[in-house]
Amino acid sequence: MRSQAMFFQEQAAQKACDPQMQKTLAYVRPLFVGKRKKGLEGLAADGLGFEEMRVACQEIRDRVVDNLDVWLELFEARAQATGAKVLWARDGDEVARLLVDLARQHGVRKVVKSKSMLSEEADLNTAFAAAGIESIETDLGEYIIQLAGETPSHIIAPAVHKTKEEVADLFVAHHGLPRQSDITALAREARGVLRQHFLSADMGVSGANFLVAETGSAALVTNEGNGRMVTTLPRLHVVIAGIEKIIPNLQDLATLMRLLPRSATGQSISNYVSVLTARGGLALDSPVQGPEKIVFVLVDNGRADLLGGEFASMLRCIRCGACMNHCPVYTAIGGHAYGWVYPGPMGSVLTPLYTSLKTAQDLPQATTGCNQCGAVCPVGIPLPELMRALRRRTFEEGLRPWLERLGYKVWAWAACHPRFYHWGVRRAVRYLKWLAGGEAFIRVLGMAPGWTGGRDLKAPPGRSFQELWADRKNRG
């Protein structure tokens, strides 16, 4: 997917002023927050604290990320020992190329996909279409946005920006069936249409929530059951997963499953957790149902470059979406404004790192530093600190506007020279008081139009604290 992150400022402003978007976000925000809270209450009822679980989950992820070289080799060897094929892709284009080649080799005409954000990085559907291979998204949210020709606006609720009326319009246009107006009927209709695709597809493509090194398996977590369909019915199953997705063993999966669904949707567990392994010693003509072949595609696309550096902790991410669900900025603008695959705080870190800091530099700027994301992250990623580190890098690489950089230099110099600074402050407070023109509030501030675009500024009394304090001391 080509990044549109350079248009963040305009896109975000537009979304912030879009009444329909605001209505949708106002509706979903308390749901997101409330569901997670309830999920954690359930955990507490079993005597498990969030902090205790978070430490355990972080340790599991760190153990792998800190030694990824050996874990990759281990996973590869064990997956191969079960009969799976393991391929590697340096970037999104290579992912798309490998999958199209695999489809061609196996005479595939139709592909069914379960949700994979990595496939969005690779723009996989476009590649399949160009190769004349039909590929169908089967997660209901992904299916809706595929029909709409859009991109996901949330990593676990891709169509969260769509209303049921919009979905009904899309279904009428694409299914040629009578218009349904209620949500249950719409979901039912999609079930019927997609069921036929599941049954007729030759290849299933899924992501992986985790790659289990112990067993050489993919662990897949879904609610709709489409993940199971995609990995059970077609004869070929291709798993595309980032190289960082490995966990050591099945016990670790059990640990992570106590926080992943709760962080994402508040569920104590998702409806389906599947551990999928190649057929091992089973003969191909064995009557066991399942794909004849599993291929793992392990993808770098910028991940390896994060290892060993100040952004390595980002590789712990388990894609739960809690950071965006609790982010005041995400819940004010939705996901599309972020311009690439991943929105919200995790996207504001990943997009500059995986695409380009130059074009995505506004993303890590667009934060209040509130740390609501860091506080809810189930693997303890210090998201505000990572965004700040990106801002530092932006500054060091000279990517900020020269006036802004100069401004900070002058201000910092002044702040280190108190006499000059206080002289400036005395001028500034008088100017601001004058600007208020005797009123209590300044309504328009030329030097900060962003501020007074939405709010007034209380006028200062015209003399600084330091001045008033000096007076008081002198009066003794």
């Binding site: 975000a12 700040r388 500054f395 950089r405 939405g454 709010r455």
Partner: protein, 241 residues
């Protein structure tokens, strides 16, 4: 007990009354309050913008200015958090400075935390009659664990009725330069805060960080909402009536 009062650059410029209220509270609690004359800014705006060199220069300046005081107290959790957490991080590569930064970090406190956790005050000098709702500012809440301290102090004031707002822990959308850089986004966020304040039915919204308060008050006025906005120091010192 010799205490340095670091009023913060925002209070110095925008609302000196908070500085004087803080002084009154500290003196009433028996502190010998000193206002270091050369103080300017803690450097957080530079650190936040990614200008690490400027932030480092200011960290060193302040470490030098604030040496020799038993405690340093600020009427802002955000600035206190910067001194406590960012200075050691900024100076980690310079052992001599790192040690000084760690020392200053231990001596630095946000006002309500200082009054409750260090001085363990039993009474506050001011008087206030009315209903108050308290906005928890992000850095204080999530980085310094400041939640009960201001409430405990308000509870010592007989005339105060505390009416908690919904989502008091939600960000107000200030975020320093954020509110100016991304005004439209900030407005959506602060609107939620204004709605929570209104729903609380309180006459006054109180907080511990002037940045948040300027943002909230500015938006309340633009919406035509007359709810008063006060700093916790002003209320506790009795300057809010």
């Amino acid at each position: 007990m010799r205490v340095a009062l670091f009023v913060t650059c925002l209070v110095d410029v925008m609302r000196p009354s908070i500085g004087f209220a803080t002084m009154r509270l500290l003196e009433a609690a028996g502190c010998d309050v000193v206002v270091p004359e050369d103080q300017t800014c803690c450097g957080q705006p530079a650190w936040s913008a990614g200008e690490a060199d400027a932030a480092r220069a200011l960290a060193k300046k302040n470490i030098s200015d604030l040496a020799g005081f038993e405690y340093v107290v600020l009427p802002s959790a955000s600035c206190a958090e910067h001194i406590k957490n960012a200075y050691p991080e900024l100076l980690a590569g310079e052992p001599e400075w790192a040690e000084k930064a760690a020392d200053l970090s231990k001596r630095t406190f946000e006002l309500t935390s200082f009054l409750v956790d260090v001085l363990k005050v039993n009474e506050v000098p001011g008087d206030f009659h009315g209903s108050i709702t308290y906005h928890d500012s992000c850095k204080g809440l999530r980085k310094l664990g400041i939640k009960q301290q201001p409430r405990q102090l308000l509870a010592k004031m007989k005339g105060v009725t505390l009416r908690e707002m919904g989502e008091s822990e939600e960000c107000c959308g200030f975020g320093g330069a954020f509110a100016a850089k991304f005004g439209e986004i900030s407005t959506v966020i602060v609107d939620r805060k204004c709605a929570s304040i209104r729903e609380s039915g309180a006459e006054v919204v109180v907080g511990g960080d002037l940045g948040c308060l300027l943002n909230i008050e500015g938006r309340l006025r633009r919406r035509g909402d007359p709810t008063r906005v006060l700093h916790i120091a002003e209320v506790l010192a009795g300057e809010g009536q």
